[in-house]
């Protein structure tokens, strides 16, 4: 596009203004203003069961950082993200590579792996709660045939979080598979051919050629993984309504939700929200800094 100096074209700016203003307006009204409101409320002692509301400085922040449940919820959030994201990455990349092997019925395979993505969250959690049921659930029955002792899944403090992670991987895997598959298919074949002629084995090809070429996609998948992991809530609240045995699945959004909707402490919930927001913001900022190296290929 031709630009005249540093100036903008009047007509273009006007068109842009018309196009962008509805989105900006809505974002300000329903995200920015609420966000500022949350920020403000985090400094008040607003309790819905009381009629007064006054400014109390940093008391709410002091409270939550002394609350062992909040600390645990931070740990649980990192636990979830730390296991789920790599697991998701490795599994989906592996399956995508298998699908890239010029197999038959690709469409069937791809659609099947993608199917869990489209099932509404609440419906799928209900199915999985049943699957995990330690008494009448099919999962224990299946592992029982291999001679494995029954596990209490969502009712065991050590297994509850892995169970939620397993479910979440199932739910989101298909999305990443499709993305990786498309990425793999767009890598020109002559790259690998040339490497093979040079005597590279398949592992070397994978790490020296495939992975670097896929790096922008891997970056995208990790970024979305982080954002979504820190926001995780629905499956936690449906599968473990009390935050799991010994609060082993109580993540940060869950803690916020409990403070607001079970204890009616809007002030404390807001303070925890601000902490969560700053946390997501800083992690994505760091990741952005680390991962901005893009790869181009023709």
């Amino acid at each position: 596009m031709i630009k005249i100096g540093k100036g903008y074209r009047k007509k273009e700016v006007l068109a842009a203004l018309i196009c962008i203003s509805p989105a900006v307006f809505l974002a300000v009204a329903f995200i920015v203003i609420p966000l500022f409101n949350v920020f403000y409320l985090s400094f008040t002692n607003w309790d819905l069961l009381k009629t007064s509301k006054k400014f109390i400085g940093f008391d709410n922040y002091e409270y939550i950082f002394k609350d062992p449940k909040f600390i645990k919820s931070m740990f649980n959030t990192f636990y979830f993200a730390g296991i789920k994201i790599p697991l998701d990455l490795v599994l989906s990349l592996f399956i995508a590579i298998l699908l890239d092997k010029k197999i038959r019925c690709l469409r069937f395979f791809r659609a099947s792996y993608f199917a869990p993505v489209i099932v509404p969250m609440v419906a799928s959690t209900l199915i999985w709660i049943w699957i995990y049921d330690p008494m009448v659930g099919p999962l224990n029955q299946i592992i029982g045939t291999f001679g494995i002792k029954p596990v209490q899944w969502l009712n065991d403090p050590n297994w509850a979080m892995p169970s939620v992670i397993l479910f979440s991987v199932w739910k989101g895997l298909g999305y990443n598979i499709v993305i990786f598959l498309a990425g793999l298919q767009s890598i020109p074949e002559n790259f690998a051919e040339a490497a093979k002629i040079d005597g590279a084995n398949s592992r070397k090809i994978f790490f020296k050629i495939t992975v670097p070429l896929l790096s922008p996609i891997i970056y995208f998948v990790i970024l979305m993984g982080i954002i979504n992991s820190f926001k995780i809530f629905t499956q936690i609240s449906v599968m473990t309504p009390k935050g799991g045995p010994l609060y082993s699945t109580g993540v940060m959004v869950f803690y916020i939700f409990q403070q607001a909707f079970e204890n009616y402490k809007i002030g404390r919930a807001s303070a925890a929200s601000v902490v969560l927001f700053l946390l997501i913001l800083s992690i994505t900022a760091v990741q952005k800094r680390v991962g901005t190296k893009h790869v181009h290929y023709d």
């Binding site: 596009m1 630009k3 903008y8 273009e12 700016v13 068109a15 842009a16 203004l17 196009c19 962008i20 509805p22 989105a23 809505l26 974002a27 009204a29 329903f30 995200i31 203003i33 298998l98 092997k101 197999i103 469409r107 395979f109 791809r110 659609a111 099947s112 792996y113 199917a115 489209i118 099932v119 509404p120 609440v122 419906a123 209900l126 199915i127 999985w128 049943w130 699957i131 008494m135 009448v136 099919p138 895997l173 298909g174 499709v178 993305i179 990786f180 498309a182 990425g183 922008p216 995208f220 998948v221 954002i227 926001k231 809530f233 959004v253 607001a260 919930a269 969560l276 927001f277 997501i280």
Partner: protein, 271 residues
């Protein structure tokens, strides 16, 4: 050698699919089970007798038809509105040049970081000040903006070759004509994908409709689903029947545009 290797590939893929599809299989079978089947020990995999009682019960217990209709209305309005607004914004961000563009783009990106639970109460306060509680506006307007939709479409619009746009400009096309008659027809897969995402996200939305509606005539489907889980544990098989019915329209949409859909999901990652 090659053939044997492929055998492994099929083995892994099929094993994976068995795991991935098992929950669906379980849901469909269970929707036809009787109470006795569900609570038998050891668990029964297939229903003793295939019966449709559970589906009938769902209709008996909640005004499923009305809720379904409301769900369609709200979902369609949100989807149409959100996609339209996002297309406009994405067009500006991807194809036009204007001050504060970078800032606005990163601002939109940042909004993706906010879990809705956090802003829900303040949003509710705004809606109640506007006197929009228990209205379609209240259900629809807060969701017309989506950082993800804009981000997704912007990336997609950027892939559109510059020369075509320039050629159009030389022909004297205005910006809106460029958008609607040149760019849009060429990015249909992206638009249909984001429509589907919005549709899916909205179709299942539960908490907000519960809070913002106060009369039966405004209620949506997921609220009806929750009704079926009675206090202290519902009946698995009825839930499964209801879930199955709720999933069917989504499945139809999915089967209908699977190819386009997969194509553009893939595009999100590429840019």
């Amino acid at each position: 050698m090659k053939k044997r290797k492929n055998l492994y590939v099929y083995f892994f893929l099929l094993a994976g699919i068995a795991i991935v599809l098992f929950p669906f299989f379980w849901m469909i079978l269970s929707a036809f089970k009787s109470n006795a089947d569900v609570y038998s020990y050891p668990p029964k995999w297939f229903p003793e007798k295939w019966n449709f009682d559970n589906f009938a019960k769902v209709f008996e217990m909640v005004p499923f038809g009305l809720y379904y209709l409301n769900n369609i209305i709200v979902t369609v309005l949100v989807t149409a509105g959100q996609v339209f607004i996002s297309i406009l914004a994405a067009f500006a961000l991807a194809r036009l040049n204007f001050p504060f563009k970078k800032f606005i783009f990163s601002f939109f990106l940042t909004t993706m970081l906010m879990p809705f639970v956090i802003t829900m109460i303040p949003t509710f306060l705004i809606i109640s000040k506007l006197k929009w509680i228990d209205t379609y506006q209240g259900l629809v307007v807060p969701f017309l903006f989506s950082g993800f939709s804009i981000f997704f479409l912007t990336n997609f619009f950027k892939t559109f070759p510059n020369d075509l746009q320039d050629a159009a400009k030389i022909d004297g096309c205005g910006y809106f004509k460029i958008l609607f008659s040149i760019i849009l027809p060429n990015v249909r897969p992206a638009v249909s994908t984001i429509s589907m995402f919005t549709f899916l996200g909205q179709w299942r939305s539960y908490l907000w409709p519960l809070i913002v509606t106060n009369t039966t005539k405004m209620r949506t489907l997921p609220i009806g689903l929750r009704y079926l889980v009675s206090e202290g544990g519902g009946e698995y098989q009825i839930m499964m029947a209801a879930s199955l019915m709720a999933i069917i329209p989504v499945l139809i949409v999915y089967i209908f545009c699977e190819k386009q859909f997969i194509k553009s999901v893939a595009m999100t990652g590429l840019k």
